[in-house]
């Protein structure tokens, strides 16, 4: 297997110099559209690798990637680990649900322990916003944010952008501007915006790539202050949100976590905010349906849409590995 892999050439396009400027992927604060587009292009090359009979390249041979999950997420963790192994990196998994951490132990103490394992890159998920930023200040390794509290989930936004760019191109609507592929496009994001790192990262990335974002949900879950972000609009009216949209992304609702002080009932939410076929008729003729998963069936999106031909839900999941391969590759190669 290793021998066979060694004969397969590395990805033909090296990461753009611009992407190599970054040591970490924490959020998109310091990223340019050009750098993000180069990541999406690299992900396309990675997808070709994954389509080969031998789905492995030696690009990250000798590198070690550690996944540090302080919050359970099997899907995201497996996606990152697959992305690392497909490039022949060694993988260390550190799963620390709240209970296994000693009370009062600082995340810096935890990092000191894990750093003895000499990883080159840390993939970090944590229930508190900002932990990847804190670890990035303290480690010499690279840090990739795999979701921090309500703050950011940049690889999810990247895979959403990758999926949507490909779907629009396949529908005969390729980007008019290479560096700003979503110019003239509108994404509607529907649900519990306040608690959603997916909504925040998508708002940040989609507007960076030239698009407009409409955030929609019950007023108690729709922070007014987010409308100050450039290119972002807010509405509590689902019909208004989806009108003319190129894609409608429904967010996962965690009713048990929200409680009755924030959301009167799930039935009320479904009645007012579930995305249904009638809504899609108000959207652009080619409009797509997206969901970051895992889907609560017939809560956020009507099943006939989630399973329908305009759904990108499965393709979003499939995009996770090539996009994360591109992120690991771009942050690691040329750094050692």
């Amino acid at each position: 297997m290793i021998g066979a892999a060694a004969q397969v050439p590395p990805p033909p396009t090296p990461p753009a110099a611009a992407a190599r400027r970054h040591r970490h992927l924490l959020d998109f604060t310091d990223w340019t559209a050009e750098e993000v587009v180069s990541l999406l292009d690299t992900a396309e090359v990675m997808a070709q690798v994954l389509a080969r009979p031998v789905k492995r390249v030696p690009a990250l041979q000798g590198y070690t990637v550690a996944t540090l999950f302080f919050e359970d997420s099997t899907r995201t963790r497996l996606s990152f680990e697959r992305a690392a192994r497909a490039q022949s990196a060694d993988v260390i998994s550190f799963a620390a649900g709240g209970s296994s951490l000693r009370k009062g132990e600082s995340i810096r103490d935890t990092l000191r322990t894990i750093e003895q394992l000499q990883a080159d890159l840390y993939v970090v998920r944590h229930p508190s916003a900002g932990v990847p930023h804190q670890l990035a200040r303290w480690t010499n390794g690279a840090v990739v944010n795999a979701g921090d509290g309500r703050h950011a989930h940049p690889t999810q936004a990247l895979l959403d952008a990758y999926t949507l760019r490909a779907a629009l191109t396949a529908a005969g609507l390729p980007p008019a501007e290479r560096e700003r592929p979503f110019t003239g496009r509108r994404l509607a994001v529907v649900g519990d915006v306040e608690h959603s790192r997916v909504a925040r990262s998508n708002a940040e990335l989609f507007t960076l790539l030239g698009g407009e974002v409409v955030l929609c949900g019950p007023a108690a879950l729709l922070p007014r202050e987010l409308s100050r972000l450039p290119g972002v609009h807010l509405t509590a009216d689902l019909r208004e949100a989806v009108t003319g949209a190129d894609a409608v992304m429904a967010l996962r609702i965690q009713h048990e976590r929200l409680g009755p002080k924030r959301l009167p009932s799930l039935a009320e939410y479904v009645a007012r905010y579930q995305v249904r076929p009638a809504h899609l008729e108000l959207a652009a003729p080619h409009a797509f349906v997206m969901h970051p998963g895992p889907l609560n069936r017939d809560v956020e999106v009507a099943s006939e849409l989630a399973d329908g031909e305009r759904s990108l839900v499965e393709r979003q999941v499939a995009s996770g590995v090539p996009v994360r391969m591109a992120v690991l590759y771009s942050l690691l190669v040329g750094k050692k």
Binding site: G104, E105, H126, Q134, H151, R200
Partner: protein, 422 residues
């Protein structure tokens, strides 16, 4: 014991007294330019000599949390910051809700070289907000104030009763005015910044609502209510209205709320996590504007030390609080007075006469017979903040590396030099 502060410029609430030698004997001020033999001489040439500061709001973590701070380190830190008297908060472990704990604090503090300690006691047993403490016994043991600081008193009935007892006993009630269910799990000011960072927000409405309740209960009961760490424009406006309409409230602001904004949280560093939270630049401007007028009665530090490990937890888990006793004056002198925003005399008033008036204590003066609690300030030398040099056990600070002027070079408490720089 006789000591002289030689050649400093003397300034107190009664005015600028010019350059003199200030003689101190047996704990009290003896007089000016008396001459004669002394046991100790402190050079104050080119320096400002002024009554030591009063801080009505410090957390000394003693008893029970000595890993963060204790009486020795906390009172030494206060002296190094130019403070001669501090009021310690009751949210220790155990809580200061028992006369024995108050008496023990007073007794142990008397043996420490540092600022004088005047302890506050809790309003409610265990700070649980359910049962009143025995305020008469706490006062008899030495408590000068009651407060559940750190924990807002949610139950308005209990707060009313506390004010009624305190008014009768002549105790000042200090409040941590944040409505708990609006504050919810907020770890920073609720704003565009908190929404961008995805951190749970604590809106200024939580402060404004509770200041209104606390002020109206003060009016109802006649209790003297000191509103601690007012942080927002909305909160300040409510407090100002309460005062103007005759409610017996006084207002405290802190160095951090006068100098830092919610943008400081952008790097996700819990060193900036404090309650109430750092607000917006507009709130800072409102607080600063209020210093010059009568809207603010005192500057309290809310010195709140924690260990470095605690402050290196994640933003949700890390405790609230900034340790600042040793930078408070230089910070405010540099940012406000040296910058031309506030007269020196006003800043000193907010650290001397203002807090004394809040407590009903005599205004601190450099007159013969007055307690020899004096600080000597170097208003010229610029030096960068070095947390590592703090006497406090908390050596991490938001102002690390910042060049400041106005360093206290000597502090006398009861005629004894408890802080001497260099």
């Amino acid at each position: 014991m006789r000591l002289v502060l030689r050649g400093g410029r003397l300034l107190d609430g009664a005015g600028d007294r010019g350059v003199h030698d200030l003689y101190v004997r047996d704990g009290v001020i003896e007089g000016l330019d008396l001459g004669g033999a002394v046991d100790q001489e402190v050079d104050a040439e080119g320096r400002l000599v002024t009554p030591a500061f009063l801080d009505l709001h410090v957390h000394l973590r003693d008893p029970g949390q000595e890993v963060k701070e204790d009486l020795a380190s906390g009172l030494a830190a206060a002296a190094a910051g130019g403070y001669g008297t501090v009021v310690s908060m009751a949210n220790t472990d155990p809580v200061v809700d028992d006369p024995g704990i108050v008496a023990d604090l007073v007794a142990r503090a008397a043996r420490v070289a540092g600022a004088r300690l005047r302890p506050a006691a809790a309003i409610s047993k265990g700070l649980r907000g359910e049962e009143l403490t025995d305020m008469a016994a706490l006062r008899a043991a030495g408590a000068v104030m009651v407060t559940d600081d750190g924990v807002p008193v949610a139950d308005s009935r209990l707060f009313r009763s506390a004010c009624e007892y305190a008014a009768e006993l002549g105790l000042v009630v200090q409040t941590h005015s944040e409505e708990p269910s609006l504050r919810d799990g907020g770890v920073m000011h609720e704003s565009a910044v908190s929404q961008r960072l995805g951190l749970p927000g604590n809106p200024d409405a939580a402060e404004a609502v509770m200041i209104f309740r606390d002020g109206e209960v003060a009016r109802l009961t006649g209790a003297r209510v000191h509103l601690a760490h007012v942080s927002s424009r909305r909160g300040l406006e409510v407090a100002t209205w309460l005062k103007a309409s005759g409610a017996p409230v006084t207002v405290e602001v802190t160095p951090q709320h006068l100098t830092l904004t919610d943008e400081s949280l952008a790097g996700f560093d819990p060193v900036y996590k404090v309650a109430p939270p750092l607000r917006t630049a507009d709130d800072v401007a409102a607080l600063r504007a209020a210093l010059a007028g009568g809207a603010v009665d005192s500057i309290g530090t809310d010195h709140a030390p924690h260990t470095l490990a605690e402050k290196q937890q994640d933003m949700l888990s890390a405790p609230f609080g900034i340790a600042n006793l040793e930078v408070a004056f230089p910070l405010l002198y540099t940012r406000l007075v040296a910058a031309g925003e506030l007269p020196l005399e006003r800043l000193l008033w907010l650290l001397q006469d203002g807090p004394a008036r809040v407590m009903g204590w005599p205004a601190p003066r450099l007159d013969p017979g007055a307690p020899a609690d004096v600080t000597v300030l170097d208003l010229e030398t610029e030096r960068a903040v070095e947390g590592a040099r703090f006497r406090s056990k908390a050596k991490h600070t938001p102002w690390e590396g910042e060049p400041l002027k106005g360093w206290p070079v000597a502090t006398l408490v009861a005629g004894r030099a408890v802080h001497l720089a260099g």
